[in-house]
């Protein structure tokens, strides 16, 4: 009797593989805590993908399972990734907002036969940790390099960089300094400030003392970025004609209403602006706004997640729903498509996304809403950061 049931069960399993599979995708991100906004954007991007393209690839149905890692916590990230793989049986791991969280899970991929699609984590080195990592977001080297030339071309010969003192800040600083000096500019000083600085007035005093004509800044999106920009204005540096440049993290769309006029006219470089003018983006923004609830909360991680889902759908297509990480990753190498952010492709060598980087300026629309207005395009930028590590 027992054997009968067992064989019946086995037959049932076989049948179900023959017809249609549920393919599970495990997504790890900060869904609560101080970075909840970014996790919410992951989900919005993924939901937007389902809204526009359905949750089926061929006969296979995609099911997303979310797990929360509120702040950078590699041990937790690895434990949850492992649980997703062995308990939930996910075929794809995706998400990962913080670099260490992604790094921790890379050691599982080969044995688990699971590809990882990084939807945000932005240190260049992640892709070399495992051949099964594909990234659809950006690196700080990628977004911060183009602005070096922009600053120089604006007639500025001497600049200082002010960055938060942690890995992404240091990456941004190195990228900007390299590009700016290569263009012919002179770096007067590099200021690294603690990540949880609240009061920036002493930093502003330092900038004033240096006598630089321009400041390049990197701070993570959120309260500290807001404090920094406000302090820059209050200190009178802006009034004295010192120019502030940054990566788009500083002027991410959800922070703009709070920043108000303080950032008006500020130039940043980034891979995605919600205002990007293309039919793809229009459709994406509409779907993602619906998914997130409040359209004002829409930000860059959503597009990383949306494109991540595109890559995963292509992987499922290539493998026909069977679990084969190698084949899946092979299939998306060199893949190119029109993303909401513009034309993009996966570089076969690095498995990192090649994309346009845009110079944007904070502007005010006719109805009084602030947005990032794209004014210049740097086409097909790869990741200069990998060369820097090697």
């Amino acid at each position: 009797m027992k054997r009968l049931i067992a064989s019946a069960l086995a037959a049932l399993c076989l049948c179900s593989t023959a017809y249609a599979d549920t393919i599970k995708v495990g997504v790890i991100g900060p869904f609560s805590g101080p970075f909840a906004l970014q996790g919410k954007n992951f989900k919005a991007g993924i939901d937007a993908w389902f809204a526009l393209h359905g949750n089926k690839v061929g006969d296979d149905e995609i099911q997303v399972i979310y797990r929360d890692v509120p702040h950078a916590d590699p041990a937790q990230s690895k434990a949850l990734s492992q649980e997703l793989v062995v308990k939930e049986g996910v075929q794809y791991l995706a998400g990962y907002y913080f670099t260490p969280d992604a790094m921790a899970a890379t050691s599982l991929l080969e044995q688990a036969n699971v590809p990882m699609v990084v939807m945000n984590a932005a240190s260049s080195g992640i892709v070399i940790k495992s051949p099964y990592v594909v990234r659809t977001s950006f690196t700080l080297w990628q977004t911060a390099s183009p602005i070096g030339k922009v600053v120089f071309d604006a007639g500025i010969k001497q600049a200082v960089s002010v960055v938060s003192d942690y890995a992404p800040g240091i990456d941004a600083d190195s990228a900007f300094s390299t590009a700016f000096t290569e263009a012919g500019g002179e770096m007067l000083e590099t200021v690294r400030m603690p990540l949880d600085t609240n009061d920036f007035s002493p930093i502003m005093q330092r900038i004033r003392d240096s006598g630089a004509q321009a400041v390049f800044a990197f701070l993570p999106s959120g309260p500290t970025a807001l404090g920094f920009v406000k302090s820059f204005n209050d200190s009178g540096l802006k009034a004295d004609g010192v120019k502030l440049f940054a990566t788009g993290d500083l002027t991410q769309e959800p922070d703009l209403p709070a920043l108000g006029d303080a950032t008006l006219g500020m130039q940043t470089t980034f891979h995605y602006a919600v205002s990007h003018d293309s039919p793809e983006n229009k459709a994406f923004v509409e779907a993602a706004s619906k998914a997130i609830g409040d359209p004002k909360e829409l930000s860059f991680p959503a597009v990383g997640a949306f494109d991540g889902m595109y890559v995963i759908s292509k992987m499922i297509e290539a493998t026909g729903g069977t679990q084969d990480a190698k084949k899946a990753v092979e299939a998306v190498k060199g893949l190119s498509w029109e993303s909401p952010r513009g034309p993009v492709s996966i570089a076969p060598g690095t498995r990192h996304i090649t994309q346009n980087i845009y110079l944007r300026e904070v502007a005010k629309s006719a109805v009084g809403a602030y947005y990032n207005k794209e004014i210049q395009t740097f086409a097909n930028q790869g990741d200069p950061g990998l060369a820097a590590i090697k």
């Binding site: 200021v191 603690p194 609240n198 009061d199 007035s201 005093q205 330092r206 959120g222």
Partner: protein, 287 residues
């Protein structure tokens, strides 16, 4: 010289804002002996109310502050009655557990209601501008914060050392049973002191919002800052807290100016040095 003066002014302004936000905690921890880790949560609630009052109801800044303080106290009083009253006199660790729980709940609920984005409390034109001091400019808002801080310090000092309520409060803290037998209604005194500390938190949250923007995670993000400032000053001592805020504000500001990359080291080494020299906090009462 100008630079030193300029940094000193920044330090003063920063110290006063710290004082404004954390003084309420000094009242709960020092006078009521409750380690209230949810202090920041009340400051945040105040900030949200002010933000809402100004952007949705279109109230002025002053009115928004009054509304924020009142509304936060109204929310806090039931919490005092049903939760905090159970942990007066309980071991510190139990208080930590309870107030962390309260903080988690408030964070979760705020995130659900208002979403995870930053909220600001827009300043009226008078405060948004800046004043020329001759050698530099300073934003009017910071001057306003300095003035508020001084007023609060003076007001609290008067309240606690010169009024009947202050005498009752100190009596209840020192010996609740004795005070009760002398006819002091201890529960009312506690509730009133709690309301005062919450009101101060809300006030600090609103006025400090320029420096510490309002968002759901506010309560945990700045918890350490509040705890450090209050303890270094000596819990329960108003002049102590003021002194600690000015001193730590000065150290932090000078550190950030001189060697920003080692800013954290300066601050925490200074904390260790101060506490080593004054093991009860700067002006803490021997007990």
């Amino acid at each position: 010289m100008q630079t030193i003066l300029s940094v000193a002014i920044d330090a003063l302004a920063y110290g006063m804002i710290l004082f404004l936000i954390s003084i309420g905690l000094s009242v709960t921890m020092g006078l009521m002996r409750v380690v209230n880790l949810a202090h920041g949560a009340f400051a945040m609630i105040g900030g949200y109310f002010a933000s809402y009052a100004m952007s949705a109801l279109g109230l002025g800044y002053g009115l928004a502050i009054v509304l924020a303080v009142t509304a936060t106290v109204i929310i806090a009083l039931p919490l005092e009655r049903f939760l905090y009253r159970r942990i007066y006199g309980a071991p510190e660790l139990t208080q930590v557990l309870m107030t962390i729980g309260v903080t988690f709940c408030i964070i979760g609920i705020t995130n659900y209601l208002f979403g995870p984005t930053l909220k600001t409390v827009p300043l009226p034109p008078d405060l948004a501008g800046s004043t020329d001091l001759g050698f530099r400019t300073i934003s009017n808002h910071r001057l306003f914060a300095i003035a508020c801080g001084l007023m609060v310090a003076a007001g609290l000092w008067l309240l606690f050392s010169r009024t009947g309520f202050g005498i009752k409060l100190r009596a209840v803290v020192d010996n609740a049973a004795m005070a009760a037998s002398l006819g002091v209604r201890t529960q009312w005194v506690y509730a009133a002191a709690f309301a005062i500390s919450v009101a101060l938190a809300a006030l600090g949250g609103v006025i400090g919002a320029e420096l510490l923007p309002i968002e759901p995670y506010y309560a945990l993000r700045y918890m350490v800052t509040f705890l450090v400032v209050v303890s270094v000053g000596g819990a329960g001592s108003i002049p102590g807290a003021l002194l600690a805020c000015l001193l730590l504000g000065a150290i932090e500001t000078a550190g950030r100016y001189l060697a920003p990359e080692y800013g954290e080291f300066f601050f925490y080494l200074a904390v260790i040095a101060i506490v080593s020299i004054f093991p009860r906090g700067l002006l803490g009462r021997a007990n």
